[in-house]
């Protein structure tokens, strides 16, 4: 069965681009446009992996991460942060909070992001 990826990303165009690429690679996708909807989707849809943006309207990505790691039902779901924040402090914070990888959007192509997803899902 195809693996299900949840994309939490507020920018519509970025969401479409990465979504299209994932579909093409044979993944199922679910999308969420902000933190709150993201948390709901993690619970309802039980994705195999979450692609998480950090700067989101309302509840930000760090908070989404902390909430899902606290909930036993979702704590094991792997998370890849995909953000524009690239300071060392942010990267360390994200990884410390339990993210499996941290990618800076501008420094990776969709193909490379898929490779990272594959590596985490292995």
């Amino acid at each position: 069965m195809a693996k299900k990826i949840l994309i939490i990303e507020d920018d519509k165009f970025l969401r479409e681009l990465i979504g299209q690429k994932l579909l093409k690679e044979g993944y199922d996708i679910v999308e969420a446009v902000d933190g709150e909807k993201g948390i709901k989707s993690i619970k309802d849809e039980k994705p195999d992996l979450v692609l998480l943006d950090l700067i989101l309207p309302g509840i930000d990505g760090f908070e989404v991460l902390s909430k899902m790691k606290k909930d036993a039902a979702t704590a094991q779901t792997p998370v890849i942060i995909l953000s524009n924040l690239g300071q060392k402090d942010d990267i360390e914070k994200g990884l410390k909070m339990g993210a499996d990888d941290y990618l800076i959007k501008a420094h990776f192509t969709p193909g490379e992001i898929i490779d990272k997803i594959r590596a985490v899902l292995k």
Binding site: D11, F13, L14, L17, I18, Q20, K21, K24, I55, N84, L85, G86, Q87, K88, I104, K105, A106, H107, T109, P110, G111
Partner: protein
């Protein structure tokens, strides 16, 4: 009091000292027993305390006043000299403190402590870097979107492209990557100027740090058919205190220039030497070099060699500026020798561990 003995002119040096009363900087004067003997009105205002309460008190007694605690901890016990240290007195109030011992005819007569209010400068500086950080982050989303779209087209996910189409999209992709690199440099720059540049300083081995940079660039060296050599010292080099991530950025910037601006089949080498005080790193290339007239500007922000700009439009002109800032933040120096069309040699030093401690405490007396 000692200045009365030395000078009878009370207007200038006496108790009601006219000059010190009208200084815009705060002034504290300690005598040779480290007791406070003069406080001007500006200093009273800075510390929000009447001078009657603090005059004739020793530095240790002053530490009992909460307002004085930050200053006392700067002295750490006795009065000593230092230059322009920042002191956070309270929220949104920052002083720059200079302490200079007064030595008259070889005898120590106490010390002057000058307090300069830099709150506004600090605020403006912070606003400026915050603006750059914000703008750079805002630019990252659209540049990512462009990068991703072009990549998807290039990978022909949406259908085949003909040769010309592919060529143009490749150029657009590279141009966009240039903007992404510029944003990265601007963010590094904003960090430097916010002064929070060195964060995790650990005892490190510079040879290992350089080796890791060389390893990353191996393919590039082979592809360009460069003759590359890394001359290490036979003896083990002394340890240095580094913020490894930052030092890597500095060395990468210098090394990247050497590789980029040396024509294929040219020579690039890195060598190391050390003495008791410091390690010297030398990065030499047989590249395009820098013309004599431009030597003075090499480390300035946005500088690009005129000969280089004609050949390669990719650089941001920030690399060496950033490198210099990082190396100087470690207590090192950077300089170069260069001749146009013959090549450049960049040198920098890093103090060994023992020397670094002295640099950081910044004592010069």
């Amino acid at each position: 009091m000692f200045w009365k003995r030395k000078n009878k002119n009370k207007v200038f040096f006496g108790d009601g000292a006219a000059i010190t009363n009208y200084l815009s900087d705060g002034l504290l004067v300690f005598d040779k027993d480290s007791k406070l003997v003069l406080v001007n009105p500006q200093a009273e205002e800075f510390f929000q305390i009447r001078k009657e309460r603090i005059l004739r008190k020793s530095i240790l007694e002053l530490s009992r006043f909460p307002n004085f605690r930050p200053l006392v901890s700067l002295f750490g016990g006795g009065i000593k000299g230092f230059f322009r240290k920042e002191l956070h007195i309270r929220e949104n109030f920052i002083l720059e403190v200079t302490s200079s011992p007064m030595i008259i005819e070889g005898k120590r007569f106490g010390a002057l402590v000058i307090l300069h209010n830099i709150t506004r400068e600090k605020l403006v500086e912070r606003m400026k870097s915050e603006f750059v950080t914000l703008a750079a982050h805002q630019l990252r989303t659209p540049t990512s979107a462009v990068k991703w779209s072009l990549q998807i087209l290039l990978e022909e996910d949406l259908g085949e492209l003909n040769k010309e189409q592919k060529e143009i999209i490749k150029k657009a992709y590279n141009t966009n990557d240039k903007v992404i690199r510029l944003i990265k440099d601007l963010l590094n720059l904003a960090q430097i100027e916010e002064g929070k540049y060195l964060s995790k300083i650990v005892l490190s081995d510079i040879e290992g740090v350089i080796q890791s940079i060389v390893d990353v660039n191996k393919k590039r060296i082979e592809k360009k058919k460069l003759k590359f050599e890394f001359e290490k010292q036979k003896d083990k080099l002394p340890g240095v205190m580094l913020d490894v991530e930052k030092m890597k950025i500095a060395i990468e910037n210098i090394f990247d220039n050497a590789l980029r601006y040396t024509l294929s089949e040219g020579k690039v080498s890195i060598s190391l030497k050390s003495n008791k005080k410091e390690i010297e790193v030398k990065i030499k290339d047989s590249g395009l070099g820098i013309s004599q007239e431009q030597h003075g500007k090499v480390f300035s922000k946005f500088f690009r060699g005129s000969n280089i700009m004609r050949m390669d439009t990719e650089g941001t002109g920030l690399g060496l500026y950033i490198a210099k800032n990082i190396i100087e933040a470690h207590g090192g120096r950077i300089w170069f020798e260069s001749e146009q069309d013959k090549g450049s040699t960049f040198y920098f030093t890093i103090p060994v561990k023992e020397q670094f401690g002295e640099f950081i405490t910044g004592e010069f007396y």
